[in-house]
Symmetry: C2
Subunit: 248 residues, 2 copies
């Protein structure tokens, strides 16, 4: 935890936050904070700030909170991901939030098993806790928006333009791509635009799905000769986009 | 498994490989291969090739193997990593091999707990199996060399120049770096040279350690404003280096 995230409901009218559970334990046992100590904090979906420890009790910590005016910018990358196996998805939530993603769209595909959608890893309580963990790691406050799509075709045809602007850049990583990632970045001037990155299932997208994506403005690029696991590919490409955007 | 890796000892004099265990099960149950089917294979630390299924028995598969002449190039990146918690390191082996690393140097540091070095995740049998899993995922044959360093200072002073060429590029990711990763890449002409990437412990390197690295030719760069977990940072930066190298 590099910052402590506070829920707006945890703040009373006088700027005091009363924390319990994991965060209180972290402040008491890991940070060994005593009264008067200043901690980096953030308001969930709000601004960063600093919290001065007022009291540390067993299982309860009180912080006096002061927040900055400006809210951190929303990450400029969105992710459209063919839902991976629950075991992989479970680990991915925290990492996606840490890397910084504006919206996470988890979709069905020909090579996604239907039962993945019944997993507890798609339960909002479960994934929100993981996302907050990632934000606290990275020092960010903005929860990614999560959308679960059970039918890819109607989503691309009827919904995509509403949730992702047409003038943004839509990219899809696939071994069939002729251009490499840097060529596509340069061509699309990706660092100045909102970007949607699509990553397929372990077995890849089908030719029909690839055509569907291409028809909806996705540029297909290859991410190198090595075949990466979904989670490795997600981390690698999101990090690349983030670093590339911060270049300008 | 995108290729099946074969140990030289598993080959008889007539080009037949007799496989059992996980790989045999994968060929039989996942690939559902029958006699005559061709599979992508590789010789561990050797070349890629193709294997024709001769027999599929319970728990045993025989392949007729033909290998290419050329051995795949050794990845141009080496990693020097402050040993992370065993739980993190356990998961990292496979991903490092999948991403492609020539040599993995795991080192002690001020903020590494001594007991991490007693973990079974540093047992060669344990990590070799994980590394092979990563190579089979990525379609590579070259096992990364692994070196475990219990004292950082003597290693940097007496050993580093032997295991990593002085004319290579030595990089270290730290929030104190003034230049970002792309500026350093451009300045050091990284894509044409062997690169050693140093990544610190969760709590970071100490100022003394940073000085020591700088004195041994490491260029310090910052990897963006977000603080990443060790495993996320490793994957992100190795992928970036790999993609950057393949650009030329």
């Amino acid at each position: 935890m590099n910052i402590i995230l506070i829920n707006p409901q945890e703040l009373d009218g006088t700027g005091l936050a009363h924390l319990s559970g994991e965060r209180a334990e972290h402040i008491r046992n890991t940070l060994r904070a005593v009264s008067g100590k200043e901690l980096c904090i953030g308001l969930l979906n709000g601004s960063l700030g600093s919290g001065t420890v007022e009291t540390v009790g067993s299982g309860m910590v009180t912080l006096r909170c002061v927040f900055e005016e400006e809210v951190p910018p929303r990450p400029a990358v969105d992710l459209l991901l063919a839902l991976p196996r629950p075991k992989v998805m479970k680990r991915l939530w925290t990492q996606l939030a840490a890397l910084g993603v504006g919206r996470i769209i988890l979709t069905n595909a020909e090579k996604v098993e239907r039962y993945y959608f019944d997993s507890h890893v798609l339960d909002p309580d479960f994934f929100t806790a993981r996302l907050i963990e990632g934000l606290q790691q990275a020092g960010d406050t903005l929860l990614p928006e999560v959308q679960i799509v059970k039918q890819l075709k109607p989503f691309l045809e009827e919904e995509l333009d509403r949730v992702f602007p047409e003038k943004g850049v839509r990219l899809l990583a696939d071994p069939s791509g002729v251009q490499n990632v840097f060529q596509v970045f340069d061509k699309t001037n990706v660092s100045s635009k909102r970007t949607l990155l699509a990553i397929g299932p372990e077995g890849g997208w089908t030719p029909y799905e690839l055509e569907l994506f291409a028809a909806h403005g996705f540029r297909i690029f290859n991410a190198g000769p090595r075949i990466l696991r979904t989670d490795t590919a997600c981390i690698a490409l999101l990090a690349l986009l983030a670093l590339h955007s911060s270049r300008t």
